[in-house]
Each structure stands twice: as C-alpha cells, then as structure tokens.
C-alpha cells in the first residue's frame, strides 16, 4: 500500500491531462454558451470556427518559425494567437453580416438559425480544408516538458514519475487568464454589463438604449477570441486536424448543456465535469489501484471501464443524464 505513489500516478495519468483538456473544453463551451445567451441559438459552426482560427495561427506560426522569431522555451504559437484571433474575428463578423443578420432581423426561430449555422459549418470546414488540407499538422516548439517523469523521480525519490508537458501548464495558465479577463469584462465594464442585460431580457435592454448591433459585434469578437485560444491550446496539447475539431463539438456542447446553456460559470464547470469523466472512465486504473490497495488485492486486469474509443459515449451519457434529470443544467441556464 503506497498512497503517495498512487496519488502521483493518478496525477500523472488522470488529473494533469484532465485539467488541461477541461480547460480547453471550458474555453470552447464558453464560446457556445455566449452565442446561446446573446444570439439565442446553438452554434454548430463553433468547432470549425476553432479550426479556422487555429489554422490562421498555425500559418503565422510557420511564418515566424521560418523567420527565426520565437519565444525561447515557450511555443511560438503564442505569438501567433492574436493573428489567429484577428482571422477568426474577420471571418465570423463577415459571416454575421452576410448570413446571420438577415435572420436576426426576421426574428427567425432558433432552429432555423441552427440549420443556418450548419451551412456555415460546411463553408468553414471547406475553407479550412481548402487552405491547410485535412491532415494532421504539428506546430509546437519550445521546451517539451515543464518537468518530465525521470526528473520528477530523481527529485522526489518516488517510484512513479509525474510528467507535466509545457503545453499542459500553458493551457491552464492561459485559460485562467482568459476566463478572469472575460468575467472582469462581463461584470465590470459597461459593454459587458450591456451584454448581460441583453442576454437577460432583450426588450428591456433595447428600451434602456443598448445598441444591439454593438452587443452582437462584441459577442462575435469575444467568441472568435475564445474559439481561437481554445483551438490553439488544443492543437498544441494534441495535434491539429480539422475533423477532430469538428468532433469536439459534442463534448463542447455537452459541457455547455451540463453547466446550463447561457451560463458562463456553468460552461467552465461543465468543461471540467466532461473532461474528468472522459479521462477517468477511459483510463486503465491498474497502476493506481496497484499502489493504493493493500498487497494481495491488486487487480489482474487493466480496470479500464471503457476503451478510449468510446470517449464520446461518456460525454453523451452525461449529457443524457443531465437532460433527463435536470434539463436546465447544473447552473440553471436558460431554457427557451
């Protein structure tokens, strides 16, 4: 029985990856939930918005790498994020002007907007594949590990190692900064307050002189920023592949619904709930249990509840449970 080693193994294989993945999901779900709160539809094009912003950032990163500009131990992609955001922002603002504005003026039903966002998703998906192709792209550089397993073992003398990749640490730090900035913006600034007012009650907000066009524009800008940051962090942590980003739609939506659509705090909580369940249920617990249980009781099998191929099933089942028992989500989002 060796609880310390068990904890280190748990941290290495479950806690650290799940926290990083949860941060990425939370950022994605924040984007979905903001669109839902303010524009009042589920944006199916969100995964592909992430892919597009990330693609721009990757192209700029390659440019920087070619020109020999870098950040030393940090990935060059960080420098490219603002360009990615600018690209994604230009794209979503143009889309809003050409596509969504028409339906807003018509006061179309939300489900029509969902179908429209499906068309937009097709277009973004095509654009991304057209420019960068459907294959995996790697663009990370800089130091690989904050601390690797061997260093950790030498440092602490424990049997198990704890590796923290620099991208994982970076993901968490960036996510904390971005979320703090977003909440500061929503709660403290005039524009942020007007966004919340618009989300709570559109008519009342219009009566009190809030400019709806401005609110919508700012929302899209924030969503583009969130989507690009989430996309770049996910791409640095894993790899960039347009189809994977499309598939991220499911866990992201699950996170947003579990937290309560329209509730930013819920989106963050939902992101972590989904990430921890996904990693926890698809992880083989043999090692952790082997350390934690008294001798003689160690499990023989892998103790893996589900194979990693079913990770979508996990977010889906959580989604179903929430829909069945608490359709407004953990944080009481809206239900229109």
């Amino acid at each position: 029985m060796d609880l310390l080693n068990a904890f280190v193994a748990l941290a290495n294989f479950v806690l650290v990856p799940a926290i990083a993945y949860g941060s990425q999901l939370a950022l994605g779900a924040l984007g979905v939930t903001l669109i839902y709160g303010i524009l009042r539809f589920s944006n199916f094009a969100h995964g592909d918005t992430m892919a597009f912003g990330t693609m721009v950032a990757i192209l700029v990163t390659w440019g920087f790498q070619g020109a020999g500009i870098g950040l030393g131990p940090l990935p060059t992609a960080l420098l490219a994020i603002p360009f990615g955001i600018a690209g994604a922002a230009a794209l979503v603002l143009a889309t809003d002007r050409v596509v969504y504005r028409f339906y807003r003026a018509q006061k179309a039903k939300p489900v029509i907007l969902v179908i429209v966002s499906m068309g937009v998703m097709f277009v973004y998906n095509g654009l991304t594949r057209f420019v960068i192709g459907p294959d995996d792209q790697r663009f990370d550089d800089g130091a690989r590990f904050l601390i690797n397993a061997r260093q950790f073992r030498e440092l602490t003398g424990l049997e198990e190692g704890l590796a923290i990749r620099s991208t994982q640490a970076l993901t968490v730090v960036t996510a904390v900064i971005v979320v703090a900035a977003l909440f500061w913006f929503l709660n403290r600034t005039r524009t942020g307050k007007s966004m919340r007012a618009y989300s709570d009650n559109e008519d009342l907000a219009l009566l009190s002189g809030i400019n709806p066009d401005r609110v919508v524009r700012v929302t899209w800008l924030i969503v583009a920023a969130l989507a690009t940051i989430a996309g770049v962090l996910y791409g640095l942590d894993k790899t960039f592949k347009p189809f994977t980003y499309f598939q991220l739609l499911l866990p992201i939506f699950a996170a947003a619904i579990v937290g309560g659509l329209g509730s930013p705090l819920g989106a963050i909580a939902g992101g972590f709930v989904i990430a921890f369940s996904e990693v926890g249920i698809t992880y083989a617990w043999k090692k952790v249990l082997g350390h934690a249980l008294p001798q003689g009781l160690e499990p023989d099998g892998l103790v893996q509840l589900l194979s990693t191929d079913y990770k979508f099933a996990v977010s889906f089942v959580i989604l179903l449970i929430v829909l069945l028992f608490r359709p407004t989500g953990l944080f009481q989002g809206k239900s229109v």
């Binding site: 939300p110 429209v116 097709f122 499309f246 499911l250 939506f253 889906f316």
Partner: protein, 433 residues
C-alpha cells in the same frame, strides 16, 4: 397548377442530367449516380418526415444509416458456428445482463423511496456493470480469436439479403425510440445535440466491437439480391443477347447488375413515397403539420405533442435505416471507417432543404439533384481550377496546392448552396402546398 409544372420541369432536368452523364461520361457512372440518387432520395424522405412534417431537427442520420448497414451483415452473412460455440453464449448472456441491469435500475428508480433511490440505482448499475464485463469480455475474446483474419465475429443469420432492409429499419427505429424518449419534449436544439451524439456512438460501436461486424476490418462480400457479373459473363444466353444489342459482355453485365439494383431501389422508393404521400394527406399528416406550426395550439386541442413527435421521429429514422441497408447492399461491404457526418448527415439535410421541406416530391428531387452535384462538383471543380491555374508556371506551390485542394470544394459548394437556398428561397425548389 404551376407547382406541378415546376415539379415536372425539375424532374425532367434530373433525367437530362443523368442521361447526359450517360452520353458524355459513361452509362456505368450514370447508373451509379442513379442508384445512389435513389438511396439518397429515400434518406431525404426520412428526414423530410421528421423535419418537413414535424419540425424535428435530427442530425444523427449517419447513425441510423450505419445501423441499416449493420442489419445487412447481421441478416445476410452466414453464421460462424465455431465462433458461436466459442463465445456466443458469453456475448449473448453479457448483453442480456447489461439490459437486465438497466431495466433493474429503471425499476428501482420508480419503486424506491426518494431518499434511497439514488444510491440504489448507483449500486445496481455498478454491480451490474462489473457482472456484465465479467461475462461479456471472455465471450468477446473467444469470438474474436476464432480465425481473426477471415472471420473473428459471430456472423449473421444467413437469411436472404432483402430481408435486411426492413430489419435495418427496425434497428434504426429502436435506436430512435431510445433517443426520442430522452430528448424529445425538451428544447429543439437538445434533440439535435443528442442525435449528433448517438450517431458518433453508433459509429464508434461499429468500429470497435469486432465480434459484431469485424469493426474496421470490414465485412466484405455481402450476399447480393442480383446476379454476379461473372456469372452473367459465363452465361452463353446472356452473352448472345448482349451481342444482339451490340455491347461487349463485360459492359453489358455491369450495366445489367446496376440496372437490377436500380429497379429494386426504385420499387422501394415508390412504395415509401406513396406511403409518405398518403400520410401527408391523411388526418394524421394534417395533425403533424398543425403541431409543427403551432405546438401550443395543438396541445390545447388535446394532441399529445411529445408522443406524436416520438412517433414521427421513429418512423423517419426507420426510413433512414432502410436506406442505409440498401446502400450497404449496393456496396457489397460494410466499412465503418467511411461513415462521415458531413457526407451522411449534413448532405441529406442539404437535399431536404434544397428540395423543399414538407414536400415529399421535393425531398426526392433534392436527393437526386444534390447527389448529382456532389458527384459532379469534383470534375467541374477540377476543370475550373485547371482554367484558373492555366496561366501559372508548372510546379509552383500555389498551383500544386490549388489543384490538390479541389476535392475540398465539395463541402464549400454544399455549404454555399444550403445558405443561398435558406436565404433566397427558404421553401426550397418544390415548396410545400
């Protein structure tokens, strides 16, 4: 009257396009487009039942189509007796235990006092899960180790392949019932997200459960409802008749086989179309449309909206399942790796919206037209890109890149078509009457 004239013209246009393909390219590709067009039209009919009649947003078409494909394997492939002997009992007992666990948990949830039921359900599920794994896993391992290169799965029932089409519909209906039970009655987007999820999960199951249908190792050589080309070529009578038409036996045999499929598919399409038309014109169809247009009013009139939604959702998904089974029969193989949501879900949506939601003929027309475009956009795109890049020097990166990216033009074109139709002609080519 102008409506039917318009329909007539558009149908003629589809005919011209397909015959044109036959004349300009080859009759084989024309028949291929026709066959897949028929299958697409049936899928579009199913989605139109859900969206056009009832306003339900189903983005899990891919999953139901794949279940239809699975039905073909389960019904028509010969059973693998060794695998059944090795682990068939374990697999079936495991599945039964899993189902029992869920039933017991559901029963406990309704029967137990509020204070205890959470714990009771959790305990039942946890115990049931480990029991299920303990029985199921060895069975699967035993089945998959039986001649893994050739079989490694339980095989099917060895029944005629045509029987698989209705069975595919039943499988899809079952899955749709499960989803509908949970997600219908909530907001409309929730159904969309739930169906998106179930489709991904069905594909994941098909890819990973090797005992069921060999997973990504694919099941090939599915039995056919039509004769094999090689048998036709060896049949002197057939060769003679082909010579009478002035075609060489190889081409004649491929054409005959494709034509046979076309006839079968057309029969199914006509039957389903007739049923859908009857349903639309019946009191049931009027009730559906009333619910779609004003749920509150329909509810006030005493209609059970959620149940009617469940009904139409199951029916529409069943049609998608039938189409999926037909498609797998046409392919002659089940390849779970090729199911892509953009191709099998969203493309069908484009067909319905472009054709005219709420109009069965519109959905069928959209199915043919969009399938034709989907196939032909690539050669057209290649020609356009060839013209665009003609002035560039050979071997420059831009020219190579542009020429290689032509295949991605499809998605872009479909997206633009969908957005344009939604914006400028939201009722589609053949509007609902």
């Amino acid at each position: 009257m102008t409506g039917s004239l318009r329909g007539f013209f558009l149908a003629a246009l589809v005919l011209v396009l397909i015959v044109g393909t036959g004349v300009l390219q080859s009759w084989n590709s024309a028949l291929l487009i026709l066959n897949m067009g028929l299958v697409s039209a049936i899928m579009a009919l199913g989605v139109n039942l859900q969206w056009g009649f009832a306003g339900l947003f189903n983005v899990g078409v891919m999953g139901f189509v794949a279940l239809g494909g699975l039905a073909v394997v389960l019904v028509s492939m010969p059973p693998v007796p060794e695998a059944w002997r090795a682990g068939g009992f374990g697999v079936l007992a495991g599945l039964a235990l899993g189902a029992l666990t869920i039933a017991a948990a559901a029963l406990a949830y309704t029967r137990f006092a509020r204070r205890w039921r959470g714990w009771a359900v959790a305990a039942i599920l946890l115990a049931g899960f480990f029991l299920y794994r303990a029985v199921f896993d060895p069975g699967v391992a035993a089945v998959e180790s039986v001649d893994a290169a050739a079989t490694g799965y339980l095989g099917g029932l060895g029944l005629p392949v045509l029987l698989a089409w209705p069975v595919g519909g039943l499988l899809a209906a079952g899955a749709a019932w499960l989803i509908g039970k949970t997600a219908l009655g909530l907001r409309s987007d929730y159904l969309a997200i739930a169906t998106l999820g179930i489709a991904e999960i069905i594909i994941a199951v098909l890819k990973n459960e090797d005992w069921l249908a060999r997973g990504v190792k694919n099941v090939i050589g599915l039995p056919r409802p039509v004769p094999y080309e090689i048998d036709l070529q060896n049949d002197p009578g057939f060769v003679e008749r082909a010579a009478g038409f002035g075609v060489d036996p190889t081409t004649a045999s491929t054409l005959t086989v494709k034509f046979g499929y076309g006839l079968l598919f057309a029969a199914v399409l006509i039957a389903l179309l007739a049923l859908a038309q009857l349903a639309l014109k019946s009191p049931w169809g009027r009730m559906m449309r009333a619910i779609r247009d004003n749920e509150t009013a329909a509810r006030a009139m005493g209609k059970d909206v959620t149940r009617r939604h469940l009904q139409v959702f199951v029916l529409g998904s069943a049609i998608c399942g039938i189409a999926g089974a037909m498609m797998t029969t046409l392919d002659g193989q089940l390849t779970p790796g090729t199911y892509q949501p953009l191709r099998y879900t969203f493309l069908i949506w484009v067909m319905v919206i472009v054709g005219g939601s709420g109009n069965n003929f519109g959905a069928v027309l959209g199915g043919f037209l969009i399938w034709f475009l989907w196939v032909q956009v690539e050669p057209i795109g290649q020609a356009v890109m060839g013209a665009v890049t003609a002035g560039m020097a050979d071997g420059t990166w831009l020219k190579t890149h542009l020429q290689e990216s032509v295949q991605h033009m499809r998605l872009l074109t479909m997206g633009v078509i969908l957005l344009a139709v939604l914006r400028f002609s939201p009722r589609g080519l053949l509007p609902e009457r």
